[in-house]
Amino acid sequence: MVLLETINLTKYFGGISAVKKFNFKINEGEIVSIIGPNGSGKTTFFNLVSGLYKPDSGDILFEGESLVGLRPDQISNKGIARTYQTLRIFGNMTVLENVLVGMHPRLQSNFFHSLLHTLKVRREEKEAREEAIKILSYFKGRLTGPRLNHPASSLSYANRRRLEICRALANHPKLLLLDEPAAGMNPSETIEMMEQIKEIRDKGYTIILIEHDMKVVMGASDRVVAMDHGEKIAEGGALEVARNPLVIEAYLGKKGAQIA
């Protein structure tokens, strides 16, 4: 079943098209990677889907409903969560609180109950905490234990990326947008991340991945979409795309293609 579909999605910035007539489809349970040089519109595409930008034309359909014109928080509540290329964790809040913020829209307690800290709120908070810890333990012991109550800004670069993924998962999204999850990680961490992304998918999430590391792209994704100057230049299986002459010219270069 098609989960997310964009139709002729277009976004201009001061006369230059950042995304142009972009048609994209993802089925439930897939991992689709988007590759392309910097400035080719990948992150703009994410921002369009998550509602930070409004498209100039075209449509975004999520489970058959249009997302255009909704606020980012409404879109998030519909079940789309994301991470950022430039990390956006809440540095001064603890690791646990970061995940709990991600859970915010799912929690039911209303303002007056919270104000009075009723039994219901207490129970819900306790459950939320337990679940947050469960989510954090996806990444083995890295984010749990004493680190639960450490401020997020004290984490290493790689762990912050992991925390961001946990925060995104906290809302039980149907679709997960990962923007360069392996950036700044060393080769062994990158491979680990690739495996974990696959594990997350097996738990029933659908994932769109922006990544530069061709190893991750090759290893993790079911399908690859290549973008350049805001347009789709190739689509298909990972190897197929990597051998596409357009992609080689625009992005991989001859040597990159050989590696792939």
């Binding site: 201009y12 075209g58 014109g69």
Partner: protein, 414 residues
């Protein structure tokens, strides 16, 4: 109300507006470079006025002194005050803002408020609660009759002098090496540093120029009204800031236009009946829109006027509906609602319909305000509300059009 009153109000509005502009330039320049609202600027203005007046009192300017000597004294007073005030502005930046430059935004803002309170109370302690009185001999007397209204020589001097200063400043920023360095610094400080521009010096220069202009404005106000109080600067500061925001902060011509609009609005507001104010309300709107339109890139101009849908190539289906929707912008918001409900599946139409409703709503609002003004056209606003008008303008501008009349000029990085 006679025509003379109107002319008189216009002239005093222009004069006060020019003074606001001089102060507003300081705000807008600092905001352009540091993204900081320099709260202390109003107090720097007061200090400038006090210093000028003190100098004139100290030097003993009297009626018996020959005119050339008087002029010399006044010029000396200006120089004296400008130099000291510029030093003050420089040191405020150096000691209260520079150490905070790398912190989050709330810290420098609070520091600026702290400096403002400190300076205001310092003036209070040094000069006392009583206002300082400008020696009468320093104020040029006489007036030119213009259409039956009296145009004071001082007002003429203020307007001409301010125009010269602003022209000079614009030239300085556009053409000279230092001016270009200032612009470069405001756009990308680190890159400017890499080009060998001493950015600290450039920022200091911004404060020095801004403070010197504020000092001039302070003395001019003291001359115009004859006195200056320790807290005058707070009000002038907020008014000038309002002017800067009204014109679009960071935008130098914007500051001048905003200041003139504000000066006129205040004077018309308290001097005229509401009905006449309504005309100017509409006039101002038209002037603002026309100016904004004029500064659009040439290709965009046509499209902005007539056909929003042509801006980009839309797919066929939505296109015709969007075209119809464009009439909503001019027609009203009922059709916007109609489309919103009827075509709610089409996201593109939805966006445009919402925008049409918003614009339609704003237009309705303006229409209602104007109507109320006309209906109450016998009602006169009391002069106590002059400050209230400024605050109201400030709130309305920030709420409805935070970018100001001419648009903000806060450069984003490439």
């Amino acid at each position: 109300m006679g025509f003379e009153t109107f002319v008189g109000l216009t002239l005093s509005g222009l004069t006060v507006g020019m003074i606001y502009a001089l102060v507003a330039l300081g705000y807008t320049m600092v905001y352009g470079v540091l993204k900081l609202i320099n709260f202390a600027h109003g107090e720097i203005f007061t200090v400038g006025g006090y210093l000028g007046a003190t100098f004139l009192i100290w030097i003993g300017i009297e009626d018996g002194i020959p005119l050339p000597l008087k002029i010399l004294y006044v010029i000396l007073a200006f120089l004296f005050s400008m130099i000291l005030t510029a030093t003050l502005g420089w040191s405020v930046e150096r000691f209260a803002y520079r150490p905070l430059r790398k912190m989050t935004r709330i810290a420098p803002l609070l520091s600026a408020i702290g400096v403002s309170i400190f300076l205001q109370n310092l003036i209070l302690l040094v000069f006392g609660v009583d206002p300082i009185i400008m020696p009468v001999a320093a104020i040029p007397e006489g007036y030119i009759p213009v259409f039956g209204a009296n145009f004071r020589y001082l007002a003429v001097i203020i307007i001409v002098f301010s125009l010269i200063l602003m022209g000079g400043l614009t030239l300085f920023i556009k053409k000279t090496r230092l001016g270009k360095a200032m612009r470069a610094t405001s756009q990308d400080r680190e890159a400017a540093e890499m080009m060998g521009i001493n950015t600290n010096m450039t920022i200091s220069l911004t404060f020095i120029i801004g403070s010197a202009l504020a000092a001039i404005a302070g003395i001019l106000v003291a001359m115009y009204y004859g006195t200056l109080k320790f807290d005058t600067g707070f009000l002038y500061g907020i008014k000038a800031f309002t002017a800067a925001v009204l014109g679009g902060i960071g935008n130098i011509p914007g500051a001048v236009i905003g200041a003139l609009v504000l000066g006129l609005a205040e004077n018309y507001g308290v001097g005229l009946k509401l009905g006449i104010l309504a005309y100017f309300f509409i006039l101002g709107l038209i002037v603002g829109l026309a100016y904004q339109f004029y500064f659009l890139p040439r290709e965009a101009r046509k499209k902005a006027l007539f056909n929003l849908a042509d801006r980009f190539s839309y797919d066929e289906g939505s296109l015709s509906k969007v075209k119809i929707l464009n009439y909503c912008y001019y027609g009203g918001w009922i059709s916007g609602f109609y489309f919103l409900f009827k075509e709610r599946r089409d996201s593109l139409v939805r966006i445009h319909a919402r925008q049409a409703i918003r614009v339609g709503f704003a237009n309705t609002f303006l229409f209602l305000v104007t109507l109320i003004f006309f209906l109450n056209s016998n009602y006169k606003i009391s002069s106590e509300w002059q400050n209230g008008i400024t605050f109201l303008v400030l709130m309305l501008v920030l709420i409805f059009k935070p970018a100001g009349i001419l648009g903000e000029h806060i450069p984003e990085k490439v």
